[in-house]
């Protein structure tokens, strides 16, 4: 049992150890702190995000059930209300919102910027003003609400993410929409459906999509004048239920009743959890946390290597003192306690800095999330359990790291520990063969390699740290490069030989050979145009399914084809589909295999049903994005009962006509919905990948800092441990430049071996893990890690060159070394 007096002495002694090596101690503390900081900081954002998500949706009453009429379907609001109120399960309804949702194009151009994007007009009942909207309520972030007396005015609220993206402010600016209607922009609004803008298959689509909220009566007026739907009709209803309301039974009853009373109409019912934006936000939270765990685990692993390496060196460099203590009869546990106290002091530093880093990383990532998904309620707090976990990690790492070296030191015979010079660290136990390893060249080349082999365990822990850092960097930089390559490849594939090609979307299905389609295809700005059918479908095969956009057009047209004519020669185009290699991989199908297509079938002008048709896989396109499916229009349009109809165009503008020119020309044309560049999809994925990139970049810098600290401390402890050797070299007149070169060569070898190990042995593992996580998060793209030559160069700079030059930081110490004293130093 250790007495209090002794404990105080040990504490004082360990504090003196700490004072003596304060730079190393702070460095180890920072290494540990980075591990704690990354773990606690990143993980804190998970409960913050979950709470903010729940509270924001609750605050604005996110719908529980949404009913939408399929394209072209309209229903009288009064009749529908009566139908709903007569339903048995309507008693559990807490709120209903009848809405109109119509696609449009929005011209939000300002003096400095042309902004013409696809959008949606959402007419909402604002009899009591937009403030009182019951379901999917509005939070004004800037400007003002629509007042009850404005319920038939041409005023609008602009969705927040879009306004932010284009830096628009609510200053009564006039926005134009398709058909030449004008709306006054009076407020910017956050609403649950658009916390994250998901439109079609596009995530973070705010750059390309604008939702405009207008009074229901205003929307009905536009509707009446653009496609002749009389006032009083709607095409969307949002339901909010009381706690415990039976949503499933209500939905079933509603569907049955609509089927009975309106057989010509098709409806789609979607529960809150199925809403793409809501679902993505909800599923992303645990998915991202897993990613944080992986990152934290890797950073902590590097921290453990670093701390073990350094603490063991510190303890080892005090071996003589330990021996003297043992020779004086001090019990080993007493000696051990001094060093454990030393480790504990390091851990206190680690926890202190870790807390600061945790706040920094948490706040930084929280800021990124908040910007990406602007919840109306955002909560940040100190997550106690995570901080306790972080504290425990901070204590465990140095204690764990010091256990083995302390145990080894106190297990030694005192006389062995006291011995100096030739018997220190010869590595005779672990590297008997390496001891004799000799490189060709001068003796100065032998010293670094012998130093590396003198204690294999210790050297391996340095390699380990560098190797881990390099493998994490390979994973992180590899994914950033992989993303760049993927986007560049996809852009090239989409563009093909038709660089200026533009996609035009129509607001309905039209006869392809008549007005208003011919109005566009024969427009003076258009060189040639191909009519298309385009709608979302689901593909099933071998028990797997994917959602995709189907594009049906003449696949031997002159503007652009997914595959060359020779690749399609002799193939049966009827029920033949072309999908991307990513889709084929996900469905586990190859050319010739059968796939089931769940697609819309046009029963009548206002009624669509879903049907399944078996297609064969005609060809696989070399695309790593699972976004499009192509099939021939002439051969397949009867399958959809849409022969001769079109809802989109592939347009090749005349020379000199830009995307913006075409938008401006088509803007007022009847039937027109939107114009966008064919590479828009690439831009959207670029933004999606940006989220990962920002986290990867932070991780990249953390790892670089860790690697630098690790090598700096290793060099510094090396120098301390070899003081006498360095002094002897000095006594024989070895110039500082040769000594520095020897130290640098040793660091170079450690850097090369560590980098090679990290790159070839460890990185395949980390790349696989990250690939799996990225696939889970963005399963529609096949993102693989690829390193460009530049990135490889960066890795070499970090893993080898940076590591090699770090000993130069010790030159000053070498130059100032007190040789007479150092020659007598025995520890």
């Amino acid at each position: 049992m250790i007495e209090m007096g002794n404990l105080k002495l040990l504490l004082r002694w360990s504090i003196r150890d700490l004072q003596q090596r304060w730079i190393q101690v702070i460095t180890i503390s920072i290494i540990i702190a980075l591990g704690i900081g990354v773990y606690t900081g990143l993980s804190s954002t998970t409960p913050w995000r979950q709470t903010s998500f729940e509270e924001s949706n609750e605050a604005l009453n996110m719908f529980d059930l949404k009913m939408s009429l399929l394209t072209g379907g309209w229903i009288n609001q009064t009749d529908l209300d009566a139908l709903i109120m007569n339903l048995t399960y309507s008693e559990s309804l807490k709120g209903i919102e009848y809405r109109i949702s119509i696609p449009t194009t929005v011209n939000a151009s300002t003096v400095n910027k042309s902004i013409l994007v696809n959008g949606k007009i959402i007419g909402v009942d604002m009899v009591e003003g937009s403030e009182a909207v019951e379901v999917n309520g509005f939070a004004i972030t800037e400007g003002r609400h629509i007042q009850s007396n404005e319920r038939s005015e041409n005023v609008c609220l602009v969705e927040y993410n879009f306004a932010q993206y284009y830096e628009l402010t609510a200053n009564n600016q006039t926005l134009q929409i398709s058909g030449g209607y004008e709306l006054s922009y009076i407020g910017t609004v956050l609403t649950p459906e658009y916390f994250m803008v998901v439109e079609g298959n596009l995530i973070f689509a705010e750059s390309a999509f604008c939702a405009l909220f207008v009074p229901l009566e205003t929307a009905q007026f536009i509707l009446e004048h653009s496609i002749g739907i009389p006032k009083g009709y709607i095409n969307e209803v949002l339901f909010l239920f009381d706690e415990g309301g039976d949503i499933t039974s209500f939905a079933q009853e509603l569907e049955d009743e609509i089927e009975t009373q309106y057989p010509q109409l098709s409806i789609d019912l979607m529960e809150k959890d199925e809403h793409p934006s809501y679902k993505l936000q909800l599923e992303d939270i645990p998915g991202d946390q897993e990613m944080y765990y992986i990152f934290s685990f890797l950073v902590l692993l590097i921290a453990i290597f670093g701390a073990y390496n350094l603490i063991s060196r510190v303890v080892n460099s005090q071996r003589r003192q330990i021996g003297i203590n043992m020779a004086l009869g001090v019990p080993p546990r007493f000696i051990a306690i001094r060093y454990f106290l030393f480790s504990l002091e390091i851990s206190l530093g680690g926890i202190f800095f870790g807390y600061i880093f945790a706040l920094f990383f948490g706040h930084a990532l929280g800021g990124v999330i908040k910007e990406l998904i602007p919840y109306v309620v955002w909560r940040e707090w100190l997550v106690t359990e995570l901080f306790i976990q972080g504290t425990l990690i901070g204590i465990i790492i140095p204690i764990f790291a010091s256990f083995i070296p302390i145990w080894r030191a106190i297990r030694m015979q005192p006389i062995d520990a006291i011995q100096t010079g030739a018997r220190i660290g010869t590595g005779k136990k672990f590297s008997p063969f390496l001891t004799y390893l000799r490189l060709p060249g001068s003796i100065f080349l032998q010293i670094p390699i012998r130093n590396l082999t003198r204690n294999l365990r210790r050297t391996l822990s340095t390699f380990g740290g560098i190797a881990l850092a390099i493998c994490v960097l390979v994973g992180v930089i590899g994914f950033m490069d992989g993303a760049d390559k993927l986007l560049a490849d996809e852009e090239a594939l989409i563009i093909g030989d038709s660089e200026n090609r533009i996609d035009v979307t129509l607001n309905n299905l039209y006869n392809a050979t008549l007005y208003p389609v011919t109005n566009m295809t024969n427009h003076e700005d258009v060189r040639s145009a191909v009519t298309m059918l385009q709608f979302p479908v689901s593909i099933y095969s071998t028990g797997k399914s994917i959602d995709i956009i189907m594009r049906s057009f003449n696949i031997t047209n002159e503007i652009w084809v997914p595959l060359s004519a020779s690749e399609l020669e002799g193939k049966n185009l009827y029920k033949g589909a072309i999908i991307s290699q990513e889709a084929a991989q996900d469905l586990n199908v190859k050319v010739g295999d059968e796939i089931t297509l769940e697609h819309p079938y046009r029963e009548s002008a206002f009624r669509y049903t879903k049907q399944n048709t078996t297609f064969h896989l005609l060809a696989i396109q070399k695309s790593n994005i699972r976004f499009w499916m192509y099939c021939d229009l002439t051969a397949n349009s009867p399958i959809f009962n849409m022969t001769g109809l079109t809802n989109s165009l592939m347009v090749l503008p005349k020379a000199g006509v830009t995307e913006l020119n075409l938008k401006e020309s088509f803007f007022t044309l009847p039937g027109y919905s939107s114009v966008q560049s064919v590479t828009q999809i690439v831009k959207v994925y670029e933004e999606l990948i940006e989220v990962f990139r920002s986290i990867f970049e932070v991780l990249q810098y953390v790892v670089i800092v860790l690697a630098v600290l690790l090598v700096y401390n290793t060099t510094s402890v090396n120098m301390e441990e070899r003081t006498r050797e360095l002094a002897t070299m000095g006594a024989f007149g070895t110039p500082i430049r040769i000594t520095s070169r020897i130290l640098m060569l040793e660091a170079f070898m450690a850097g090369v071996l560590g980098s090679v190990t990290g790159y070839f042995l460890l990185s395949p593992f980390i790349v696989t893990v990250l690939e799996n996580k990225v696939t889970e998060a963005m399963d529609e793209i096949g993102l693989t890690a690829t390193l460009t030559l530049t990135s490889l160069g960066v890795l070499i700079v970090i893993g080898v060159i940076l590591v090699t030059i770090i000993p130069l930081l010790s030159v000053r110490k070498l130059m100032r070394m007190d040789l007479p004293s150092a020659l007598r130093v025995s520890e």
């Binding site: 010079g421 012998r450 003198r454």
Partner: protein, 234 residues
């Protein structure tokens, strides 16, 4: 020729000024063997360090072969040591990760000795370690390690060998062998300075400079006269 004129070396330890050496005047001729004798703290190692340009005096001048080394800058001191001085330390100070041969080769290559490998091997053979050249320090006895250290000093053929308590870590028999090797070098025309606190060992030389509290208290033949090494007893 080594000339020390009014050499002083002071250290500041907190508020106390410690005079390690005070007004030392010495002349040592080429090829002479001189023993610096004195108890612990007398200043003999400090004096050796000053002659070896490991340190600079706070007062006085040191001239070696007509060159004033006491005013040398640090880089000049490195060059001087590399070309002129060979050290032998009490605790050998061999490089633990280099073999006996490599320890010697290191100094040979550093001093740009031609045929460094052959000369390193010759030096080890000269000290009787021809059969153990591939052994590492931890595989050698204390005497063998000190002989490697002597071979390391011999290989560079420096005009001055400075040996600080060269037998301090060795048994009597091995110590005598080491002294034998040092005396041999003196016979070859090398100036040898040996630091010791052992009065008996001092009898290997005709000239013993005795120091006490940083001052030279005597300079001349040993008190009980010089004796051949095989007659020494300590």
């Amino acid at each position: 020729m080594i000339e020390l004129k009014a050499i002083g070396k002071h250290y500041q330890m907190g508020e106390i000024k410690v005079k390690a050496l005070d007004d030392i005047n010495l002349e040592i001729t080429k090829g002479e063997i001189v023993v610096l004798l004195g108890p612990s703290g007398s200043g003999k190692t400090t004096l050796l360090n000053l002659i070896g340009a490991l340190d600079s005096p706070t007062a006085g001048e040191i001239d070696i072969n007509g060159t004033r080394i006491s005013k040398y800058k640090r880089s000049q001191q490195f060059k001087f040591r590399r070309n002129t001085i060979a050290f032998i330390f009490q605790t050998f100070n061999l490089f633990p990760t280099l073999s006996a041969f490599e320890n010697v080769q290191y100094v040979a290559e550093l001093s740009k000795i031609k045929e460094s490998k052959k000369k390193s091997k010759d030096a080890l053979e000269a000290v009787g370690l021809g059969g153990r050249i591939r052994h590492f320090p931890h595989q050698l006895s204390g005497g063998e390690q000190q002989r490697v250290a002597i071979a390391r000093a011999l290989v560079k053929e420096s005009p001055i060998i400075l040996a600080d308590e060269p037998t301090g870590e060795l048994d009597f028999k091995t110590g005598k062998q080491i002294l034998e090797l040092l005396v041999q070098q003196h016979g070859n025309g090398t100036t040898v300075l040996i630091v010791t606190h052992n009065r008996e060992i001092a009898r290997v030389s005709n000239r013993v400079v005795e120091l006490h509290s940083g001052k030279v208290t005597s300079d001349g033949p040993p008190q009980n006269g010089k004796v051949p090494i095989d007659k020494l007893h300590w």
